[in-house]
Each structure stands twice: as C-alpha cells, then as structure tokens.
C-alpha cells in the first residue's frame, strides 16, 4: 500500500504525464504558427484566395491547439512549487530567472499578439494584421528558448555557486545559463522537430482531402508545402541531434551509455549502434541484436575510433565521486545507483530516430509521386500519408522521455537527486488525488480536442464571403473582412 503512496514516484508520474501532455501542444503551436504565418504572407503578397483559405483552415487547428497549450502550461509552472518545493527553494535563484524571463519577454508578447491575430481580422490593416501572426511565432520561439535554457540547467548545471549558508544554488553568470551548450543544441533540435510535426499535419490533411478528390488545388499546395517543410526540418533535426549527442556525451556520459545500453566501455569498431536488440528484462544481457559497427562511437564522439564509456565504469566513477566524500548527503542517491532505467532510454532513443525518419521518408516519396501536378495515386498511398501525422509527435514525446529519464537519478545533474527535490510537507495521498484529477481532465480534453481538430480539418477550407457579389473565381471581388472576424 505504501508503495502506491510514495510521493516521489507519484510526483514523477505527475510531472511526466503533465509534461508529455503539454508537449503535444507546444511543438504543434511553434511549428504551425510559422506555417500559418507563411501562408498568410503568401496571401498578402500574391492576393491569391487559396492562401487565405488555407490560412483560415490551419489557423483554426492552431487555435484549438493553442488554448490547450496555455492551460496545460500553467500546470507546469505551478507543479514545481506544489510537488517539488525542495527543488524550487534550492534552485529558485537560478532556475527561476529563465522562467521569469520567459514570462516577461516571450509569453506576454505571444499571448497578446495571438489575441490580436484571432480577433483583429476586421480591425487591423492587412499588413499590421500579418505582423501579429509573425510576432506570435517569434514569441513562441523565444518562449521555447528560455524554457530549454531552464531545462538545460537541470541537464548540465552551469553558471551557479553553492551557498552553504543558505543551503541553495545561486546565480553566478546568467550568460552561462542562457548559453549553456545543452540549450544551444537542444533549441534548434526542438524547433526543427516542431516544424516537422506541423509539416506532417499539413501532409496528412492534404492526403485526406486528395484521397477524396476535393479542394484539389489548395490541397496539392498544402501537400507539397508540408512535405518540403518536413524534409528540410528532418535534416535540421538530424544535424542538431548529432551535435546534441556530442554535447550529451560530454556532459552526461551515463545518458549516452544508457541510450546504447552499453555496459562496458568500448571504442572504434566495438562501439557499435544496435538497431534492434533483444535482451533479458533488466537489459544487462543481450540475446540477439542487429548492430552497425563504429556508429555509436561516431554519434558520441564525432569520430569513428572514439571511446564511449560504459555504464559499469561510469557507475563506479560516480559512486566514488558522489557517495564517498563529506558532502555525500547532498548528492548520493539512497540506493546508490546512478543508472537510469536502461530499457526505457534504449528504446526511446531508437523510436525517436526511427519515427522521425519514417515520416521524412513518406514525405520524400510523396513529393516524388506528386511531381508535375500528379495526384492520381492509389488510395492506399494516401492512407499511408494520412497516418504519418502522429509520427513526429510520438518522436518528440519519446525524445523527451529519453532526455528526462536519462537524467535520472538526478533532478539537477551532479547537484541534487530527484528524491531530494520533493515537497516535504505534501502527503502521498494529496499527490495521488492531483495525479488522478489531471489524468481524468487531460484524458477527457484529449478526446474533445482531437475530435474538434478532426472535425475542423474534415470540413476543409472555409468559404470566403465577399462584398459586391464577386464570383470568387477570378479574385476580382473584394474580400469582406467583416465576415471574416473570428467570433466565439
């Protein structure tokens, strides 16, 4: 019974659940804001109505999604204080700064301009209105940067000093916090991944309509726009992912070892990357695997004959470093293990790469098949394209599972363990109640949200009302802005 009410486990489940849920909406918001801004720019520059109709359609998807992103974001901020108050008081001086900067510089900006964009169609001049969606996008990107900088402090704490007297970490250099190498590499990786997600949503929506031969001209544009976005972003994800891997090996070698399930230190040919592996349930012994020699060495060190440290050696090293000295109280985990759950990190790492690659591959094939205006394709190809939509999302989610699981047992790497970060005064049952409440509410909202997005997407692009009876085919009728206003 007690195990069910362990506040550390429950708080971790809650953090994992609420963060992953939040992270369904955030990447789509970041990616979709840019694509909508580009579509609207295309409309303003060319005057072609199809771009306006597409702006409207994907703007709607974006908004349904944005509402969810905001409300689930408040939970993120509050739960640091609610469930992790020891962590909050220990690092607030340094971790709070990027969070507050996010709020003051980015979030205010984004939330204000999105309101102007939604309701400003008939109230602002065309170009000013276009500016509001670009500002919204800039806000989302800045927001992402500050949050990633905060997260980078947990992965690779820099720019702080320990104040023994106050018993906390204090800020020493804000530039070290904001220019943390983990943040600098994680940022492009996350932004490109977000763009992939949005790109594939476009591909999927277009495929759904093209399969039914409706909205053909608009949807062909959408398909190719989405596919190109996806492919270019995939290249960006790959390159930034590789540099992130190098930084990770440097700062958290245990995470890299766990990603490869490598128990023993190896180098060169022996530091192989296993595409697939079957092992004993604890992951310590391998039964069967398919391996690519040298690849792990390349991923970790950028050279074919580099050395990748194994889990066993790192465990021994960390035990000596953190569990023997005078300040062992602060840093040694109670069970003495510095190894994250290996099968989770191992598979999350592979699924992240694999799912993203499949989505990109579908886009490449799709671009090739639809070249020169061809959309006469067998139905099943469209079905495949429709179902690529969730792939980059799942890739992002398992990517975060990998990042955060791989950090365990630390809440701040090398400084504070996760179990030390808990709120001392909050009983397990209270955490259980809130975990249950969030699970129920989030679950119900997921169903509603998904249903609404599907409904909006299936309805296709909206009719654009006109003043003076323009027939809508030659673009001569003036678009009636009053009818366009989004109204609840």
């Amino acid at each position: 019974m007690n195990e069910f009410l362990d506040p550390v486990a429950l708080a971790r489940w809650q953090f994992g659940l609420t963060t992953l849920y939040h992270f369904i909406f955030v990447p789509l918001t970041i990616g979709m804001a840019l694509l909508v801004a580009i579509l609207q720019t295309a409309w303003v520059r060319t005057g072609k109505e199809k771009y306006l109709r597409l702006t409207k359609l994907f703007g709607k998807v974006f908004l349904i999604n944005f509402a969810m992103g905001v409300v689930t974001g408040i939970v993120q901020e509050f739960q640091f204080g609610m469930n992790w108050s020891n962590y909050s008081r220990f690092v607030g001086d340094i971790f709070g700064a990027p969070l507050a900067m996010e709020g003051l510089i980015a979030f205010f900006f984004e939330a204000t301009f999105i309101g102007l964009w939604i309701f400003g169609w008939d109230k602002l001049p065309k170009k000013i209105h276009l500016m509001t969606i670009w500002f919204t996008w800039i806000g989302t990107v800045l927001s992402a940067y500050f949050i990633l900088a905060a997260n980078a402090f947990m992965q690779n704490p820099e720019g702080f000093v320990l104040n023994e007297e106050r018993g906390r970490a204090e800020l020493e250099s804000i530039s070290d916090v904001l220019l943390n190498p983990v943040a600098l590499t994680q940022f492009p990786h996350t932004i490109f991944a977000s763009l992939m997600f949005a790109g594939v949503v476009l591909v999927s929506v277009a495929a759904w309509h093209l399969k039914r031969n409706q909205f053909v001209d608009e949807m062909r544009t959408t398909l190719r726009f989405g596919a190109w976005t996806n492919i270019i972003s995939f290249i960006g994800v790959g390159l930034s992912g590789h540099s992130l891997g190098l930084v990770m090996t440097e700062t958290q070698p245990m995470k890299m070892a766990a990603a490869e399930a490598m128990y023993n230190t190896a180098s060169g040919r022996d530091a192989s990357f296993s595409l697939f592996s079957l092992g004993t349930p604890d992951g310590a012994h391998e039964i069967f695997s398919v391996r690519i020699p040298y690849l792990a060495s390349f991923l970790a060190t950028n050279s074919l004959d580099g050395t990748v440290e194994g889990i066993n050696d790192l465990q021994a090293e960390y035990t000596q470093m953190y569990c023997g000295g005078a300040d062992s109280l602060l840093t040694c985990p109670t069970d003495g293990s510095f190894v994250p759950i290996v099968w989770v990190t191992y598979w999350a790492f592979r699924w992240m790469i694999g799912l993203g690659a499949i989505a990109a591959l579908v886009s490449v094939v799709g671009l090739w098949l639809t070249r020169k205006g061809n959309i006469e394709l067998p139905k099943w190809t469209w079905t495949v394209a429709i179902w690529t939509a969730p792939l980059p999302m799942l890739a992002s989610l398992v990517g975060w599972v990998f990042t955060e699981m791989g950090r365990q047992p630390w809440i701040v790497f090398g400084v504070m363990t996760t179990e030390q970060g808990i709120s001392p005064g909050v009983p397990g049952w209270a955490v259980l109640v809130s975990l249950a409440a969030f699970t129920i509410v989030y679950g119900a909202l997921a169903v509603v949200e998904f249903g609404l997005i599907v409904k909006a997407v299936k309805a296709g692009t909206p009719e654009i009302a006109r003043v003076g009876g323009g027939d809508g085919t030659d673009g001569s009728g003036e678009v009636d802005q009053n009818q366009l206003a989004t109204v609840y």
Binding site: I64, A67, V71, G73, I74, V75, E77, F78, F80, G81, M82, S85, N86, S88, R89, V91, G92, D93, I94, F95, G96, A97, A100, M101, G103, L104, I105, F107, F108, F109, A111, T112, F113, G115, L116, I118, F119, G120, G167, R168, E170, L171, E172, S423, P424, G425, V426, A430, V433, S434, A437, V441, L445, V448, E449, L452, K455, A485, V487, Y488
Partner: protein
C-alpha cells in the same frame, strides 16, 4: 530602496495587474447564467472578453514565475502548502480556458451548456480561492522554519477555511463579479447594457457591505502593526473608490464605474501588502518562524538581473497590451454575432 523591497512591489504590481484584468473576465464568466438568457446573449458576453482574457491570464503566469525567481522560498512554501486549493484553481482555469475556445466549435444545446457550466464555475472558484489564500497570509499561518533552510506549512486545506479567510474569498469573488458586470455594461448596448447595470447596482451593494466588513476586520486585526497608518489609508481609498464606482454606475457612467472598481481592487491588494510587509508569510508559531521578504528573497545578483529585465520589458508589455484594448475598444452588439441555426437559438 532595497532590491528585495523593489521586488516585493513588482510582484505586487503583477498581482494587481492579474486581479484587475483577469478579475473582470472572471466577473463576466460569473454573469453568464444571469445575463445570458439566450445563446446569442451568452455569445455576446463571452465575446466582450474574447480578445483579452488570455492575455489577462498571462499576468498570473508571469507573477508566478517572478515569485519563483525573486522569492523562491515564498513560492515553494506557499505552493506546496496550499496544495489542494491550488489544484482546484488549476482545474478550474483549465476547464474555463478551453471552454472559450471549444464552446463554439460544435452546434448543439447540450454541448454549449457543458462549456457554459465550466465557464461559470471556472470563473467563481479561482477568485474565491485566491481570496481565501491572501486573507490567510494576512491572518497568519501555521508555518515553521526548518533547520538548514526553508519553511514548512503544517496546516491543511481546512486550516484555510476560517471565518476571516472565507470572508476574504467571498469579497474577492464579489469584487470580480461587480467589476465584470460593469465591464459588460461598458462593452455592450441596449438591453444587455441596462441589465448589466441593474445587476451591478444590486451586487455592488452587497459587495460594499462585505468589503467594508473585511477591511474593518483587517484594520482591527492589525492595530499593533507598524504599518497601520498605511493600512488604514489604503483601505479607505479602496472603500471610497468602491462607493464612487457604485454611484458612477447608477449615473450610467460605466467608464468611471470601471475605473472605480479598478482602484478598489488595486488598493484592497495594497491593504493586504501593507499588512504583510516586511513579511511574506506570518507564522502563528511566533516570530522566529515568520518568513520575511529578505529571508525569502533570491540573491542580490538574481534580483539585479531581474530588475533590468523588468525595467525594460514591463513598459513595453503595458504598451502593447494597452494597444490591444484600444483595438478592441468598440462596444459589441448582437448584430456582430453571426446568425445561428434555429435549433440552438433558443435555450
């Protein structure tokens, strides 16, 4: 002035921003079952706050993050201490926020009725619970200083639900309700405007009585507080503005009424802040357990950095948010709401 004091004031300004701005959209949400007879009425009501409720709510998020950065001890102790109250607030804010967006996405009486309920309860609960929490901060809480740093809240949710705390909650909720009703009168025309004004008159009267009781109670409780002069001054300004706003509403001057309510909310919070300073959380266990502004603050370096950020961004934020209000300054009419299908026109 000490930077810790500066940040106490900045956080205060943000909280005032939050309660003044989100305050009126909570009030509009509360008015939904009373002023929204038909679905079109309710859509007009929701659209009065449509473009701004989201940016109003950002003040909470930014105030929370600033609290985290400037007073981590306060943030950690209060947020873990008020656990269940905050959980309720979060659930209420989630359901309310998505309801604005989801409500209109599908036609059907049942569908919209669900989201109307969420908007109503999501607008009642947060100001009520915030009021309870803030009143309890003034009254004092069972918090204990922990050896080696930090504070621990030793009460429960029931500890907070004492007479003074509950009165504080009801007063904050009613202030928001009045504020919202006046806002509806300010933003609409015709029958809706008249109804809102009439309701603001009645609700305003109850608010005046209870707010006066709360302010007097606060003063009596703080007679030995060194800031008593400031407390009385702020409370007096709040009371005068509330009555002034009520009279302006009677006279049909909604702009002045709204300004009066704004001043009331600001000075009611200032009364609370004056009663607290130089502390953040007063312990019922006695002096050495009380959390002071200085004791809860971040390092000088963090405060300096955050001050620069705030000095550069806050004026900009105020400017572009003011511009938003300017863009959407026109009154709403029923004609601006697109026609509905007959099935949903009646309740």
């Amino acid at each position: 002035m000490e930077l810790t004091t500066v940040w106490f004031l900045i956080v205060g300004v943000m909280l005032i921003g939050y309660f003044v701005l989100d305050g009126f959209d909570f009030g509009v949400g509360m008015s939904l079952p009373f002023l929204g007879k038909t679905n079109t009425d309710r859509r007009v009501l929701i659209n009065t706050i449509g473009p701004v409720w989201d940016l109003n709510e950002t003040w909470l998020i930014v105030a929370g993050a600033s609290l985290f950065a400037a007073f981590p001890e306060w943030y950690a102790t209060m947020f873990s201490g008020f656990y269940l109250a905050l959980l309720l607030i979060l659930i209420a804010l989630i359901l309310r926020g998505v309801s604005f967006e989801f409500r209109h996405q599908r036609k059907g009486v049942k569908w919209t009725r669900w989201f109307d309920q969420f908007i109503f309860w999501g607008s009642v609960l947060p100001p009520l619970l915030w009021g309870v929490a803030f009143a309890n901060l003034v009254q004092g809480l069972p918090i204990r200083a922990v050896e080696g740093g930090g504070w621990l809240y030793e009460g429960t949710l029931l500890t907070l639900l004492n007479p003074y705390g509950l009165l504080g909650g009801i007063v904050v909720m009613l202030l928001c309700f009045t504020h919202g009703l006046v806002f509806v009168a300010l933003k609409t025309v015709g029958e809706m405007r008249d109804n809102a004004r009439k309701m603001a008159k009645n609700v305003g009267l109850v608010t005046i009585v209870l707010a006066a009781a709360f302010l007097v109670w606060t003063i009596v409780m703080n007679l030995s507080n060194p800031n008593i002069g400031l407390i009385i001054t702020c409370a007096a300004i709040a009371a005068v503005a509330l009555i002034g706003g009520w009279v302006a509403n009677l006279a049909g001057r909604e702009g002045w009424a709204f300004a009066g309510n704004t001043v009331t909310i600001a000075f009611a919070l200032l009364t609370i802040f004056s009663a607290l300073f130089p502390n953040l959380m007063i312990s019922t266990f006695g002096g050495e357990n009380t959390m002071s502004v200085v004791g809860a603050a971040s390092s000088q370096k963090t405060l300096e950095l955050m001050t620069w950020v705030a000095v550069f961004t806050l004026p900009l934020v105020l400017a572009y948010q003011a511009w938003t209000y300017w863009v959407f300054r026109k009154r709403l009419t029923h004609d601006m709401i697109p026609a509905e299908t007959p099935a949903e026109a009646t309740v």
